[in-house]
């Protein structure tokens, strides 16, 4: 690894295995290769050992660890143990945020207990929806019941920092369906909620399902995706509902109880350094440092603090987005307005 880190960094570990590939997923992951997990974990352990020295230097060098996927919880507790014990310091003494993504249907109480004991202190649960029909349409392997169980077990295992991932604008989903999912999520009182607008990506089953049949909306097999107006209504509702229920809207798609922002992800949006290991994982790339500062930083609702030089260099762009009512510049802080949040790509485009 060529990057020499002179500040604490975050570590992302990619686990590309899945029981089944979801219909919307275009991430680097594959189903039916669980027999390769042990071998893969072995490789990851080698990568961890090869991390630059500061990574292994103990307190202050590593900020967060995040297991993402794929489905990291397809790894056994002993796989996790093996990986985490590769670090030559006691993770539990570090007090840093260690997250794993966790899919309902792949964990039980015992496993969650074991993970907690290994020092993992944050769970990001891929709930997506509390509506079984929508879950099925997405190609998820679990039901709403499984989400409730997973959540209950997680609390019981001692997880005090849990996030729920939710998706909206799903095929055949009404605004009312979405409200229902949000209400159920809030009722569980997780520390963190992410809401993602479903996007139909190329090379996914959804793409194939929507592509040829959009000509004929009456086809029964056709995926009825909510239109832009409905998407917006869903998104607006999420913001209103979650913020009135004690969640802070801190990033375009992310909400948390005060102080429970995902520290790992903040690293990305603050354009700070991180290392990714595992197949398909990417590390911090300093190529477009300045431009990325806008594209990533403006995702944070608090905005981004700019230097005088930066303000001068991007004077035209900043003026333009402010005139269009998409952003506000106060002193040295540039942040998106509500309208700008909805039209964030129109803002980002100017900084590419």
């Amino acid at each position: 690894m060529k990057i020499f880190f002179n500040q604490p960094f975050s570590l992302y570990i990619h686990i590309p295995f899945c029981k089944k590939k979801c219909n919307y997923c275009d991430f680097y992951s594959f189903a039916g290769r669980e027999n390769e997990i042990d071998e893969y974990v072995e490789k990851l352990a080698k990568d961890i050992k090869r991390l630059p020295d500061p990574a292994l230097g103990g307190i202050g060098s590593i900020k967060t660890i995040y297991f993402g996927g794929g489905t990291p919880t397809l790894l056994s507790a002993s796989n996790f143990n093996y990986l985490l014990s590769t670090f030559n310091f006691q993770l539990s003494s570090l007090q840093i945020e260690i997250t794993t993504e966790c899919n309902p249907g792949t964990v039980d109480l015992e496993k969650l207990k074991a993970l907690r004991k290994l020092g993992i202190n944050r769970l990001s649960i891929g709930a997506q929806s509390f509506n079984d029909e929508h879950l099925k349409a997405l190609g998820r392997i679990h039901t709403a019941e499984d989400i409730y169980n997973t959540f209950k077990w997680a609390r019981k295992a001692g997880f005090k920092n849990i996030g729920l991932d939710l998706m909206f604008a799903l095929p055949n989903q009404t605004v009312e369906d979405w409200k229902e999912t949000l209400r159920k999520a809030v009722k569980l009182s997780p520390e963190h909620i992410s809401t993602y607008n479903l996007k139909i990506e190329e090379n996914t089953p959804f793409w194939e399902m929507t592509k040829p049949k959009t000509q004929n909306p009456n086809e029964s097999t056709n995926l009825l995706i909510p239109n832009e107006e409905t998407e917006l209504e869903m998104y607006e509702f999420a913001i209103e509902y979650l913020t009135t229920n004690g969640y802070k809207h801190y990033e375009i798609s992310n909400f948390s109880k005060p102080g429970k922002e995902c520290q790992h992800n903040l690293t990305y949006w603050r354009n700070e350094e991180y290392i990714g290991i595992g197949d398909g994982a990417k590390s911090f790339d300093p190529t477009h440092l300045e431009s990325n500062k806008f594209i990533l930083g403006l995702r944070l609702i608090e905005g981004v603090d700019l230097s005088k030089d930066e303000i001068k260099k991007y004077e035209n762009e900043i003026n333009e987005i402010c005139e269009l009512g998409l952003a506000e510049l106060k002193n040295s802080n540039l942040k998106l307005t509500r309208k700008g949040i909805y039209l964030a790509n129109e803002v980002f485009e100017r900084f590419v």
């Binding site: 996007k199 375009i252 949006w269 790339d285 594209i295 995702r299 998409l326 790509n345 129109e346 485009e349």
Partner: protein, 594 residues
């Protein structure tokens, strides 16, 4: 000296897709003019665009040697836009092979080409091609030829160019039936220019038929139409390449290179003669080609203006019919008003500018040249809607009319009549050429024909209709200027001149179309159509309200940047008019709004 009695100059004429290029290939093959190795399919269509569109744009010539005879095959362009060039190519010949598809029968261009050949007193060799096809109707087609052209059925040669059947008979007929050229080598030089092309290394290569006299390198010659003088550097004949020769004499077909810089100095149809012993009269039929259809070309990015100018200059080197002059549009900035022979010519030039010169262009909707009779007694010609004087200054407006000949099956006559009526056509005549096929003729304004008339005709007739046309002059009609306002501002490049009775519907259709092609932006965009300052139709492009990538984490950033770059690129391909980004197709939608 060339034995003139051993020369035959001929063309092949046909409706599009009736097999002209394939038969030409077979003749080249049969006479062993080129060997099979050199044989690319349809060798005489060399330009990439020609291949793609399946048409010959520029006439060419090739010299075949067979049994002691010199057979000069002069290729003709296959599209009505290039009718004048066809007529000059035919003027260089004594005979023509008239191909008719055995499954299609006579079509509009068969008729038009045959008329041109007859006007030039050519001997016609009728050939019925594609006899290998199962649906070939030899008797029906023979009957049509008899009915329409009074051709004796015994004269017809039946061929399958694809399989090589009958090719020898065709070649023999060329020798036996077509008379050798007349002309006298001792007379003053008269060389007919039937084509010319620009070569980056050698300048203009002029394709000529020597009618009288003799031309050799070193001679000083003059173009009788333009009086420009040049010194001949090289003369020769064509095989696949240019084959230099000492002289070209009366009756021969060949080329001349004379340090000519642009093809406009070697007009098709002009006569070349010598300076020292000039001919007293030029050959008949010369006319300066006038563009019939105009449109504006504007670079999307202002910086490309200079490149566009250079590209047009280069294209004009090789295309005397291309006209251009600088034009300024309030909406689009600096560009050029360009003139073309027809819509196909326009499309070809636009494609070449974009493909070969890498330009990103806005083409405004094509229009014809209107004649405005002003109240002050003066007449003006305008080739751009924005030049139309204010209504109070206009006494009347005239527009160019065509005589259009349409061939179709009798089943579709009703539909064709309806379509021509919608296009303001005046019925002239209807004639059955056989029990199922009809020839209709109309007078129709050119402005209606350049839009989508041909496509319309094809769709009405399920493809069983063909058309051809000729200019017949100007007629007074009721026309009005239709303006389009985008975001409350008139976009001059979207203005058009339309018949009064259609103005309202045209305006309505156009704003609807524009609403569909203009992408949503940060604010509501009103689109209005106005006739004489009065708004007659309005649509709104609603503001975009949501465009946000929901997910962006560590590894995503490179991919997300690509998406944003693509979004940005998309906007670059649009023209910003005021605050509104307008895509290229909007400017062309003026003609496809119905």
């Amino acid at each position: 000296m060339q034995d003139i009695t051993k020369i035959r100059n001929f063309s092949i004429i046909a409706h599009i897709d009736h097999g002209k290029s394939t038969l030409a290939d077979r003749i080249l093959e049969f006479t062993k003019t080129i060997d099979l190795r050199q044989m690319k399919d349809q060798i005489m269509d060399s330009m990439e665009l020609e291949r793609e569109r399946g048409i010959s744009i520029k006439a060419k010539a090739i010299r075949l040697l067979y049994n002691g005879y010199i057979l000069n095959l002069i290729d003709t362009p296959g599209h009505v836009d290039f009718n004048y060039e066809v007529s000059r190519a035919l003027a260089a010949c004594e005979g023509a092979i008239l191909i008719v598809d055995a499954t299609q029968g006579i079509e509009a261009q068969t008729l038009a080409n045959a008329h041109l050949a007859q006007t030039n007193n050519l001997k016609i060799i009728p050939v019925v091609n594609k006899i290998d096809l199962p649906n070939a109707q030899l008797d029906v087609v023979a009957e049509e030829l008899k009915h329409v052209f009074k051709i004796d059925p015994s004269q017809i040669i039946y061929t399958s160019a694809k399989e090589g059947t009958g090719v020898e008979d065709v070649v023999n007929a060329v020798i036996e039936r077509i008379p050798p050229p007349k002309g006298d080598e001792t007379f003053p030089l008269q060389a007919l220019i039937f084509d010319s092309r620009y070569d980056a290394y050698r300048g203009v290569i002029v394709f000529v038929r020597i009618m009288n006299g003799k031309i050799t390198a070193g001679q000083k010659v003059t173009m009788m139409g333009t009086s420009k003088e040049f010194e001949v550097q090289e003369v020769g004949t064509f095989k696949l390449d240019l084959i230099p020769k000492e002289a070209l004499t009366a009756g021969e077909v060949g080329y001349i290179i004379a340090n000519i810089k642009i093809v406009a100095d070697a007009h098709v149809g002009d006569t070349i003669t010598t300076v020292t012993n000039p001919a007293t009269v030029a050959l008949a039929g010369y006319k300066k080609v006038k563009p019939m259809v105009f449109c504006g070309f504007y670079p999307i990015e202002g910086e490309q203006y200079k490149s566009l100018k250079e590209a047009l200059e280069k294209l004009q080197l090789n295309d005397a019919a291309l006209f251009y002059e600088p034009e300024t549009s309030g909406a689009l900035g600096f560009g050029f008003r360009c003139g073309f022979l027809g819509l196909l010519h326009l499309e070809i030039i636009q494609e070449r500018l974009e493909r070969e010169y890498g330009l990103n262009l806005i083409a405004t909707a094509p229009n014809v040249v209107f004649k405005v009779n002003k109240t002050n007694g003066k007449d003006i010609l305008i080739d751009s809607p924005k030049d139309l004087p204010s209504p109070t200054e206009i006494l009347s407006i005239e527009e160019p009319y065509l005589k259009v000949t349409i061939f179709t099956l009798s089943d579709f006559v009703g539909g064709v009549m309806q379509a021509t009526q919608d296009k303001r056509g005046t019925f002239l005549n209807m004639e059955y050429i056989d029990p199922t096929r009809v020839m209709l003729s109309y007078e129709i304004p050119l402005s209606e024909v350049i839009i989508d008339f041909h496509d319309l005709l094809k769709s009405i007739s399920k493809g069983y209709a063909s058309m051809d046309y000729e200019m017949i002059g100007y007629r007074e009609t009721n026309l009005e200027k239709l303006d389009i306002l985008i975001n409350e501002e008139i976009v001059d490049a979207l203005s058009s001149i339309v018949p009064r009775e259609k103005a309202f519907y045209a305006g309505k259709a156009l704003v609807e179309k524009l609403r569909k092609v203009i992408p949503r932006q940060m604010f509501d965009i009103p689109i209005q159509a106005a006739i004489g300052g009065r708004v007659v139709a309005r649509e709104t492009v609603k503001a975009m309200r949501k465009n946000v990538l929901q997910k962006c984490y560590g590894g995503d950033i490179t991919r997300k940047r690509k998406l944003l770059e693509k979004q940005k690129e998309g906007k670059k391909r649009m023209k910003r008019v005021g605050r509104v980004d307008i895509p290229q197709e909007a400017f062309f939608s003026v003609l496809k709004a119905e």
